[in-house]
Amino acid sequence: MRAPEAQAAPARPERIVETVDASGLAVATAPLTPWETIANNDALRKLAILVVLAVIWELYARRLNNQLLVPTFSATVQAFVAGVLSGELPLRVWLSIKVLLIGYGAGVLIAAVLTALATTTRIGSDLLETLTAMFNPLPAIALLPLALIWFGLSPLSLAFVLIHSVLWPVALNTHSGFVSVSPTLRMVGKNYGLRGLRYVALILIPAAFPSILTGLKIGWAFAWRTLIAAELVFGVQSGSGGLGWYIVNNKNVLDIPNVFAALFTVILIGLAVENGIFRTIEARTIRRWGMATS
């Protein structure tokens, strides 16, 4: 904006400057100090937080001195190592993971079929939207009593609730991913003469991959939580089960360090899947392609 009393600036001579060749100049870089190198490492920083938390836990538990309420960190680690060495913990983990993979796989497959229907027909899209609106807010664990009546004390009951927890988030995310594929990319795919399944596989799925991956991650987290919760109820009745059953069983005999060790295992597996598997897939796909939102 101009001040009212402002005049046009006085005329100034033009400038034409010969630039010098500056390509040989060294770019100034200061080497990082060792401390900066350490502080820049994400994993190390997070590890430091974990160490601090473990120390606080250990100190608090020692002051409380009640193994039945809060066992010390060291006692938990001991119970964990003992559980792993005896083969009990790995067995429980395997039983849980087996059911989980079956439920997760089936859920993803059904989600694929539903989404395919929704992408190709308008009634399919209406069906998916209505079903998701109805069932997505319904906690999977609330279906367990029904599942027990329908399928009895079999892994089928667990698979049923798992499918319910995986299906809706995966279908919802995949569908919204397909819907938001840019019109230009769609026209490019059609331009190549791609139609039907080839069009979906070669254009829509990779273009919607960020959303699909988000759906798969959410589905995994839901399934894992649902499974442990379901096993807490289900395992007691079936007599032998996975990690959830292990937790209840040890609580019943007041072996609290083992309960903590099992919870510890649940956390470890969650971290391993998130950081090991999903992070790697992300780095090799959407991050390399520049499609990641964050």
Binding site: S182, N191, G193, P206
Partner: protein, 258 residues
């Protein structure tokens, strides 16, 4: 003899949420091999819609579009399109794979031949050293050059260009126009080029189809000026003539409103 592309009395309509829009009304033109055929008009003259109909994305409600005597019914790699948007490259493929991909999925070449042809055409648009980069690491102008290389590598009957340089800055746009003409000199393809810039139409085109707006109708089909630059004033005179033809409508509309 049948022309390469024969657009005959084409009326195009599309639906928006609450109305049926007539984009073009009985538009006709013919494109011969080697033409740099420019469709020029103000926004709202249906030029992009017309190009999409030639691309096969849209069926005319009246009239026919024939390529080499065959009626156009659906999109196909014999009419490769270059779009205005920078996101037309597949982000999950490298530059070289992007160029090779249509050759592979259309069954034109086997993989080694497709990659070789991709390398050759990327060299033609001076992007040889970027072959293994992913599209998101390229500038807008480079992305458009990849899209042009991709379309030309297919060696289509006709290249359809929908304002390919409109989203570029002015300096890059001029450079791209020069490069496009150099490529035409070297390879000799046929293209339909849609633009709303009179200067671009005169520079890039050999023939210029002028459309009037709402709905699009053919106003004139002009020959562009020769590229040898023998008459430096010719381009300016043609620009003034086209400007007057397009501007006449606005004056009439203003008079009608007054």
């Amino acid at each position: 003899m049948t022309p390469l592309l024969d657009v005959d009395g084409v009326t195009l309509q599309y639906k928006t949420r609450d109305q049926l829009v007539t984009a073009t009304y009985r538009v006709g033109f013919r494109v011969e091999p080697g033409d740099r055929f420019v469709v020029l008009g103000p926004s709202g003259c249906g030029k992009s819609t017309l190009l999409k109909a030639v691309g096969g994305y849209l069926t005319p409600v009246e009239g026919t579009i024939r390529l080499k005597g065959e009626r156009v019914t659906r999109p196909g790699p014999d009419r490769m399109m270059v779009f205005q948007e920078f996101d037309q490259l597949l982000p999950w493929k490298t530059v070289r794979e992007n160029v090779a991909f249509p050759l592979l999925v259309s069954g034109t070449c086997a993989r080694p031949a497709a990659l070789e042809r991709a390398r050759e055409y990327l060299a033609k648009v001076n992007l040889g050293e970027y072959a293994d980069r992913y599209p998101h690491t390229l500038s807008g102008g480079m992305k458009q050059r990849v899209a042009i290389a991709r379309a030309m590598a297919m060696q289509p009957d006709v290249l359809l260009m929908d304002e390919p340089f409109a989203a570029l800055d002015a300096l890059t746009r001029r450079k791209m126009q020069d490069e496009l003409l150099e490529l035409w000199d070297g390879i000799g393809f046929t293209m339909i080029f849609v633009t709303h810039s009179i200067a671009e139409a005169i520079k890039v085109g050999s023939r210029i189809l002028l459309l009037s707006p709402h709905p699009g109708q053919v106003k004139a089909e002009l020959a562009s000026v020769p590229r040898d630059g023998a008459d430096p004033d010719a381009a300016r005179r043609l620009e003034a003539r086209i400007h007057e033809m397009l501007f006449a409508d606005t004056v009439e509309a203003d008079l009608a409103r007054a």
